[in-house]
């Protein structure tokens, strides 16, 4: 037979345990979940063809390629229909052949843009040195053309010169 004080101790411990359980129940963590969501529009993609000054650049004679020429650089851009984009260029100041430089420049009307792939001759002119902000077509397309001028010196070393032209396109958010 248990001593009365032992029984009391067991009872107190049991009560304490019960109270702790109850306490645990009312202080238990509760959770709920909601969703964060959002829809991303079509990212911009761009492909390009080169700006070609041909194989007959005479030393001492500038040579230009118009933005409407078949030798102009062309860029085909696609993205979300009817959204506004900004196009900017990183333009070279020289074409390079080894240690030799051939100066190249771009006038304020050497860029042209159109929402039609066949719109080169009627494209809207812009200054490629400052870029342009315009709107993609209702099918999400934009076409850009770029001409330029090379200025060889009278003693320009013969050979093929090249340089990179980089176009960057971003959405404006409009």
């Amino acid at each position: 037979m248990k001593h009365p004080s032992t029984s009391l101790a067991i009872a107190l411990v049991a009560v304490a345990g019960l109270l702790m359980v109850l306490s645990g129940q009312v202080q238990a963590q509760i959770t709920t979940t909601v969703t964060a969501s959002g829809t991303v529009l079509t990212p911009i993609t761009v492909t390009g063809t080169n700006l070609s000054f041909g194989t007959s650049i005479f030393p001492g004679i500038n040579k230009s390629v118009a933005r409407t020429s078949a030798d102009a650089a062309s860029f085909t851009i696609s993205g979300e229909a009817s959204k506004e984009v900004t196009a900017t260029f990183t333009l070279p100041t020289n074409l390079v052949k080894g240690a030799d430089n051939l100066p190249i420049s771009f006038s304020t009307t050497d860029g042209g843009h159109s929402t039609s792939s066949t719109g080169q001759s009627t494209a809207t002119a812009f200054d490629p040195n400052s870029g342009v902000t315009t709107t993609l077509s209702t099918t999400g397309n934009l076409y850009i053309w770029l001409g330029g001028t090379v200025s060889p010196a009278h003693n320009q070393a013969a050979g093929a010169y090249t340089g990179d032209i980089t176009i960057s396109l971003v959405y404006t958010g409009n």
Binding site: I30, A36, S37
Partner: protein, 157 residues
Amino acid sequence: MNARCFTVFVSVLFFGFPPAIYTQSLTLTGLQNLNFGDTIFPGINKTVARTDGNAAKFMISGDINKEVRITFSLPTVLELTGNTMSIHFSSTDAAYNTLEFGQSTATAFDPNNAVITRLGLDGKLYIWLGGTVAPTHTQPAGTYANDIVLEVQYTGN
């Protein structure tokens, strides 16, 4: 009561008893999702303010004027099959108020850390949560989503 029994009694009295026993359960309801909409431009961050109509909204219901600890489990990305888009929450992107329509004047808090506050005199507390998604320039198109979990418990005060 002998010494042994007294020791047990004191232990229970001072260490075993809970600080309080609550008679009403604590309930938590997600009233609204956090919605960044259907016009997220690749390369442009988009923010939903905690005061915006598209912010997430929660309601806590429990004992009048009792203290609760509020903790979020927040995602770092939203997901679309095989793709992720970053999401983050600033130190003022969450807010609470005992008034259901007190979103604009709610008290701001950092959802990245737990906060302790009290339920209202009607036993209610409302929480709002904003955030910012950061799509890359090449973020694939589509609808991204993930869970935001809110956890609430009484502090005992």
